[in-house]
Amino acid sequence: MASGTIALAAALALALTAVGTAFAQGWTASKAMDAIARQPEAAGNIRGALVISLALMEALTIYGMLVAFMLVGKI
């Protein structure tokens, strides 16, 4: 029972953070595409800012994944 609950918790920890991050990253990328289409000469700057903000969002999923690994280790 307990190990089953832990497994479920680990799966949820990763899945829920991934859902949120996926939405946020999709939104960010689409906005960046818009901006590049509107102003192609600023593409370099936009790409730099895009990569950084994507990496910052990615960190949240990574935290979820760390928690998931810790939980899996406890089964």
Partner: protein, 227 residues
């Protein structure tokens, strides 16, 4: 974390793990390459010297855009050293045998290593801030606006303390997670599939080194900006 299991030998109370020996090797290789590249500088550079020149040039452009011209010239070595060290550490995990041979493991997939790097980043930020603006101005800048300082100061202090933790966890989580995912893929289907993850790793390793140093330089430029 998982360090206790893979201690190779101890020097007094210090336990030396595979990550530490790998970092020693990386330090040695980097020092050797820098020494060979700058041993006799010529007007018309040889292959190694031109490689080093291109690297320094690109890094200077990269940090110059973030930090401003003056601070880049002054503090360039700190940032460039951190960047080069982290990127070489990250890529060392892609070499065959990493994590399986005793004494050779991906250093940045260990929380102790990334926490050490984050502590370096923490002190870099504040030492540069205090040097550029003076202790009094720098301390006061954490409590602006003054009439709200009883609210702002605790928030700022917490933020400053959380920053190194998030830097360390980000680097550690990405590298450790990537390694674990590749390993799991290898167990599911050993032929070909882990290669896809390794190609992605080529990108992510560079990205994580970039993100670490870029965040550090953003923090520094925030600490040094005049109001």
């Amino acid at each position: 974390m998982e360090e206790a299991g893979n201690v190779i030998f101890s020097i007094g109370p210090l336990q030396v793990t595979s990550a530490v020996t790998t970092m020693w090797a990386i330090i040695f290789v980097l020092a050797l390459v820098s020494f060979l590249a700058t041993r006799n500088l010529k007007e018309v550079p040889g292959p190694l010297q031109s490689l080093a020149e291109i690297a320094v040039d690109k890094l200077r452009d990269y940090f110059g855009g973030l930090l401003g011209e003056k601070n880049t010239r002054k503090y360039f070595p700190v940032f460039a050293t951190l960047f080069i060290f982290i990127i070489v550490c990250n890529y060392s995990g892609l070499l065959p045998g990493a994590g399986h041979v005793k004494g050779f493991a991906l250093p940045t997939a260990s929380l102790s290593v990334t926490a050490g790097l984050a502590i370096v980043a923490f002190f870099t930020t504040h030492v540069i801030g205090i040097r550029e603006r003076g202790l009094k101005h720098y301390a006061l800048s954490l409590a602006q606006p003054l009439y709200l300082s009883f609210l702002i100061l605790p928030l700022n202090l917490i933020e400053q303390l959380v920053r190194p933790a998030s830097l360390a966890l980000r680097l550690y989580g990405n590298m450790y997670g990537e390694e674990t995912v590749t390993e799991q893929l290898y167990e599911i289907f050993p032929i070909g599939v882990p290669l896809i993850m390794n190609v992605l790793s080529l990108l992510f390793c560079m990205l994580q080194a970039m993100v670490f140093t870029m965040l550090l330089s953003i923090y520094v430029s925030e600490a040094t900006e005049e109001e």
